[in-house]
Symmetry: C2
Amino acid sequence: MTTIKDIARTAGVGVGTVSRVLNNTGYVSEETQQKVWEAVQHFQYVPNGAARALVTKRTMAIGVVLHDLTNPFVPSLARGIEDEARRHGYTIMLLDTDWQTENEVQAINIVRQQSVDGVILVSPANAELLVKQLQDAETPVVVIDRGEESGISHITVDHYKGATEAIAWAKHQGHTRIGFLAGPRKLRFADLRLRAYLDNMGWTDIAVEEVDQRPDLPIARADFLFEPGRLATEALLRTHPDVTCIFAANDLSALGALRSLAQQKIRVPEQVAVIGFDDILTASLVHPTLTTIRQPVYEMGVAGARLLIGRIHNEDSSMEQLTFDLTLIVRESC
Amino acid sequence: MTTIKDIARTAGVGVGTVSRVLNNTGYVSEETQQKVWEAVQHFQYVPNGAARALVTKRTMAIGVVLHDLTNPFVPSLARGIEDEARRHGYTIMLLDTDWQTENEVQAINIVRQQSVDGVILVSPANAELLVKQLQDAETPVVVIDRGEESGISHITVDHYKGATEAIAWAKHQGHTRIGFLAGPRKLRFADLRLRAYLDNMGWTDIAVEEVDQRPDLPIARADFLFEPGRLATEALLRTHPDVTCIFAANDLSALGALRSLAQQKIRVPEQVAVIGFDDILTASLVHPTLTTIRQPVYEMGVAGARLLIGRIHNEDSSMEQLTFDLTLIVRESC
DNA sequence: CTGAAAGCGCTAACAT
DNA sequence: ATGTTAGCGCTTTCAG
């Protein structure tokens, strides 16, 4: 392994000088620079990041803690983060948690140990705790997509408004009896979407926790997943056969609804219309194509990385909160 | 920032002892261990990875260089790699290259600088060069999915055999006029799938490079993508209206075919059947569901990580080549 | 403008 | 069984 000493020796200079030309810091004569670069070329020398990190306290790496890379909208997010990070010379350290709180805690320890310069938390189950731990370790953090949060930098979208737009569109299409495929209980942004549905349907006095005890409402739990979405749709249509439109809290469950309807030979959107939420890739690949609310996922990733890097470079920058707009994407299903 | 010295001081022992209990190496009395752990707890101490890496020459990180995280089958692969890596205490450093050769080269420099313990290259465009650079730097490498390769550790599937099985199934279903949606030119495994198609259709004497000059053959380029797949299907059906089955070189283009057929009100599989390749998530979500050849992507990721880690721990382990089996997944489209 | 030297936090001998 | 010490490869004063 070639070190800075080897370079210094072959270039006939001191290690300090080599360091200076490598980092382009301080004055070094044109001539000397030449000699150093030649030696670098010759040995295909790359400085040792660990040694550098030890003295500079910067690893040029940022940790990205997310629940599940295979969740359809995560890759775009990760890509946005990575692209922006790379533009600033940062590398990504990726950690999946599988929604397990214990894995989240472990992830934090890993990023602490690897001494990343900052961390992006994607929809953490336990944001408060994790953020606190990181802040204690003086590591900048940015949270993406957790619904409202206070006192920490975060990127999110206005779930409530997006769901409201979806319902507005359904009504505009003439639907009045609109069913809802709800997400998991106790997930912040799932509740926000549900809340918007209830409010816009005129059920403002019904609490989100209450819906599971209200079989009279055209609401079924689909837990953001495909198969549960399919089953929930079957159940919903059985108990509420008058429904003409189904609004799913996310695309995956909307896809499940589409499948259920196809199996029952119910025409979409003529007999029953469907609206999703997220605009994952598959939404535009199915038949009929899915009308949905698009989250600018890639851009959120970019913004998250940018925000984090800003905080890394300027510790005292004020907490920033960024809320992205959602867009109704009208396709065939509604 | 608390260091090992702080721990040593508060525990009333030397730094060597602290190191010993932290790494569980050498004998330390039960009593002393207690004191050390208490101090560790108290300070929420986590050892500095950079300092550790500097002396041990191991970062416990592995680099994963892939072309595009948003490509549908990549997340599963990455997940497999990460899960297995984590089981061994390794962390993932992720680099996208977007298929750009220059990004690949840059990625190699980054992993060299960050001194990862090993690298996994996923379908690199320029395998030979990258592997050589890494080997010069004495970094273990494993390549995933490049078709045949020699002299380097790699994981792949038998693309030829998989495509052969697909055609066999189509024939078994009674199809004789089978069209093909080819992948990009000059991509090793795309050519293998094409070769298998040609051979099984009896065109053994036609070279894969030749097909673009043979409009008489029922073959169209879909470049592994959705929209090109849709267009290629339209074109194919126009020039070869007698085709009763379309075999697409990957699922994304098969999905394009499905869309094209739906638009033309051609019933699948009654009038025209479709077979894909890969078995990405969407394949089971569309209507009709897609018959396809499954690649055990997650398992390949796991195997790749395991192979790499084996090589990290035992430099002189012989190169291993692992070929996974493909499975025909029969669904509705054929 | 450049060389020499002092650490960064940790592990791994080496003493004791 | 445990304290002490010499680096790991690099950046950054500090002289000159």
